[in-house]
């Protein structure tokens, strides 16, 4: 089985799903792949603005599901990368206008014509989440190094495992190395020990993420941002290549330990 349909989900809201979807999709497209990203957050769409494509929307996901347009017509081509596309969510409908089997059918149609499909899941454990994970080959769970976000991530991991979906991977977003160093923030080691799933990326807190969202230009296109580099590394790892974890904090050994752990584990 190929691992080309990636759902990005979290449990707790606001931890960085949309930011991660936009950036991983862009990074994969920069490397030449044909990528379609889908905003599954019906009623609260945002992937369009993070990608800077909000003015180009004509049709959306619900239009495709209800047969008002063909799939191709709802695929908006990116401004910068001709091999990157967005299928936006409907803004004035709710999650029940799409079912998990609608999603599976729609994504099956996409499998033949692209290299990657990335699905931006809504927060929560209800219908929107079910829709988003139904077609997934790989589920990427995002969390912040915060007690409530980790707890919700654990719940999501349990639900995804119960569905016997493909591999589940963890992204730790908005890590502040200084806080971890003074032992006032859960470390990657702590979180991995508790959640017991495989890590695929650590993204530091980076104020450039906010600037890039303001502009509608994903941070991976900024060669100098650490968060951008972290998202590029996640894309590379999804594509099956091993890259060492960023050394966000030299004086503290935990990133070194994690990267050693990952290398020795080898995936």
């Amino acid at each position: 089985m190929t691992n080309k349909v990636i759902t990005i989900t979290s449990g707790k809201g606001g931890v960085g799903k949309t930011t991660a979807t936009a950036n991983i999709a862009t990074a994969l497209a920069v490397d030449g792949a044909r990528v379609v990203c889908i905003d599954a957050d019906i009623g609260l769409r945002n992937l369009d603005v993070v990608l800077g494509l909000e003015n180009r929307i004509v049709y959306d996901l619900v239009d495709v599901v209800e047969g008002r347009c063909r799939l191709r017509q709802a695929m908006i081509r990116d401004k910068r990368l001709p091999n990157l596309f967005l299928i936006p969510a409907a803004q004035t409908r709710d999650k029940t206008s799409v079912s998990p089997s609608d999603m599976v059918r729609l994504i099956d149609e996409l499998r033949t014509e692209c290299d990657w499909v990335l699905i931006d899941s809504p927060a929560g454990i209800e219908r929107g989440f079910r829709n988003a994970i139904a077609p997934a080959d790989v589920v990427v769970v995002i969390t912040n190094p915060e007690i409530s976000a980790v707890r919700d991530a654990d719940r999501i991991i349990g639900l995804v495992e119960a569905e016997e979906k493909g591999p589940v991977r963890l992204v730790l977003n908005r890590l502040k190395p200084e806080l971890v160093k003074r032992e006032d923030m859960l470390s990657p080691d702590d979180i991995l020990e508790l959640l017991a799933i495989e890590l695929i990326g650590i993204v530091p807190e980076d104020e450039k993420v906010i600037l890039s969202t303001n502009r509608g230009v994903p941070i991976v296109l900024d060669g100098k941002s650490q968060a951008g580099q972290a998202f590029r590394n996640i894309a590379t790892r999804l594509a099956g290549q091993n890259v060492p974890f960023l050394n966000l904090e030299d004086r503290n050994g935990f990133f070194g330990r994690i990267s050693r752990m990952m290398r020795s584990g080898g995936d």
């Binding site: 007690i147 654990d154 971890v180 032992e183 006032d184 859960l186």
Partner: protein, 92 residues
């Protein structure tokens, strides 16, 4: 729990340590869908059932939930009193 002296001597656990310890407990109960109180009830019932068949000392029973990867495990350590002692105690 840190004591008053721990606090004034600066020995209070760092907040990350507290977060981790608290999360560990919360996750155990979330995963098995059982409240901390239910675990106590389970322990009492277990002791009662086992006492029907063998002589045990309820105070020596240890029951705890542990984590093995994403798998939760209920570990019970139940020392059984030697049968000789049981008989002699009955005779007293």
């Amino acid at each position: 729990m840190s004591t008053f002296f721990d606090r004034i001597l600066g020995r209070e656990k760092r907040s990350a340590r507290q977060a981790k310890d608290r999360l560990k407990l919360v996750l155990i109960h979330d995963r098995i869908d059982m409240n901390p109180g239910t675990l106590e009830t389970l322990k009492d019932e277990l002791i009662e059932v086992i006492s029907r068949h063998v002589d045990i000392d309820p105070g020596a029973v240890h029951i705890k939930m542990t984590q093995d990867g994403r798998q939760q495990r209920l570990i019970a350590d139940i020392p059984i009193n030697p049968s000789g002692r049981r008989r002699s105690r009955k005779n007293v």
